[in-house]
Amino acid sequence: MDIMATESRITTGSRGTRLLGLAALAGVLALLVFAFVLTDPDVRTHPTSGEEFGQFDAVRLLYLHVPMAILTYAAYALCAAASAGYLLRRTPWWDVTAHAAAEVGTLACALVLVTGSIWGRPVWNTWWEWGDVRLMTTLLLFLLFLGYLALRRAAVDPESAARPAAVVALVAVLDIPLVNRSVEWWENRTLHQKSTLTELKIEDLTLFTLVLGIVVFGLVVTWLLLHRFRVGWLERAEVTHGIDRAIAERRGVASTTGVDSTVGQTREES
């Protein structure tokens, strides 16, 4: 692992990720301007009573909520694909990718639940709706992956968690089609609206801001993924490197005392 060779300056950044990070940062700033300044709050007027109704300023939360929901699916789908890849190939690359995707996906999923709840308070008049299938399936997805991450943390040696983690991930992603399709399958059991993106029911600038949100947070999530992958890779390298170093130290001791440098032979034994 030559990445460990430059021990004095270990970093997970590279020229590519720095550029990506800058692009993501600029995108977030642009998105803030669009979300809070250029777009209008959602205010509609009732045709007969003339009363104002709508989501008002709460609609701005959706520029974070909807992209994060899409990126949760993407990250978890990547985790499942990498887990399947690991079971077929059994190389650390797939395993580290699956772990990184699961961690970033869980962060995105937590943001989906939190922003959804904050949005729901003024719009649906509730923080949480037990009868809503999409809320329930999303929460379950989050809990399934908390279990996945707990399993990862429980293993002392990352290699030993790889196989069970891959199976857990492949079972957990079966929940994703349920989350995504729940709005169509159980129309009477959800407060969520049907997909507005595919039916183009929203105004131009709102739609543009939403798409911008998806792109920008897509960059942020990709940036996080790359760094998390590299941290994971370094963790693996550290385990291997630690063993190599221990062997080398032992050999060093043996050679200075002028005995055969067979691994496992101690000074006392010689």
Binding site: L140, L144, L146, V171
Partner: protein, 224 residues
């Protein structure tokens, strides 16, 4: 196929024999199941109408809690003296091993379900209105819980912290089973007007899927 069935019954009989001799189910898990029912009763202020209408949900939560204990016991039996190594070296197919262990857990769960049914009839004054639905639901949900429990038990066992890891891994997977079984019991016990047979179909589907996934994935977990 015949070989798988023979191996399956060998493993299941072995686990049940150990259980029969050690009496962990009878002396520890069964009293725990009744204790859970009593605690629910105390927590809900012994309000008969509330208890009766929530009995299906409380019943299945109690089953899941007991299933955690049964699965942990099933895992502990193999961990003692590294018995699992002997099983792997015996040349049995992992699928037969999985199905045998799951069958033993299922039998124990069915015993607990019978006990808990008696418990809710006596303590919560539930009345059985559809015996066939009740029995089939108990069986289908039992299969689903035993299959998922055996699979996740094997996963957690390899990492040495199965006691704390198993619940967080297993319970979210069993949430759909809890929903389906509770709804079906709502109908069978006359606690709510729902179509219990439709939920039973869902449960049967879950039982088949979890058993197949378990039989396939077990190979990945036990190979070395």
């Amino acid at each position: 196929m015949r070989e798988v069935l023979a191996d399956l019954s060998l493993v299941a009989a072995k686990d049940l024999r150990i259980e029969f001799r050690s009496r962990v189910l009878a002396n520890q898990v069964a009293p725990f199941a009744l204790l859970v029912l009593v605690l629910f009763g105390v927590a809900l202020d012994a309000d008969q109408r509330t208890l009766r209408s929530f009995a299906p949900g409380l019943f299945w939560v109690a089953v899941l809690l007991c299933a955690l204990l049964a699965v942990q016991r099933s895992v502990a039996v193999e961990r003692a003296d590294d018995a699992v190594v002997g099983l792997r070296l015996s040349g049995m197919s992992p699928a037969a091993l999985f199905l045998g262990k799951a069958t033993a857990v299922l039998v124990q769960l069915l015993v607990l379900e019978v006990l808990l049914t008696g418990g809710i009839i006596v303590l919560y004054r539930s009345s059985v209105e559809d015996v066939a639905l009740l029995v089939l639901t108990g069986l289908a949900a039992g299969v689903a819980v035993a299959a998922a429990g055996t699979l996740y038990g094997a996963m957690a066992a390899g990492l040495g912290v199965s006691e704390t890891l198993l619940p967080i891994l297993l319970l979210p997977v069993l949430a759909p089973v809890l929903i389906g079984a509770t709804r079906a019991f709502d109908d069978a016990l006359g606690a709510a007007a729902v179509d219990g047979w439709a939920w039973l179909v869902l449960l049967a589907g879950l039982a088949v899927v979890l058993t197949l996934v378990g039989a396939l994935a077990y190979r990945v977990l036990v190979e070395d």
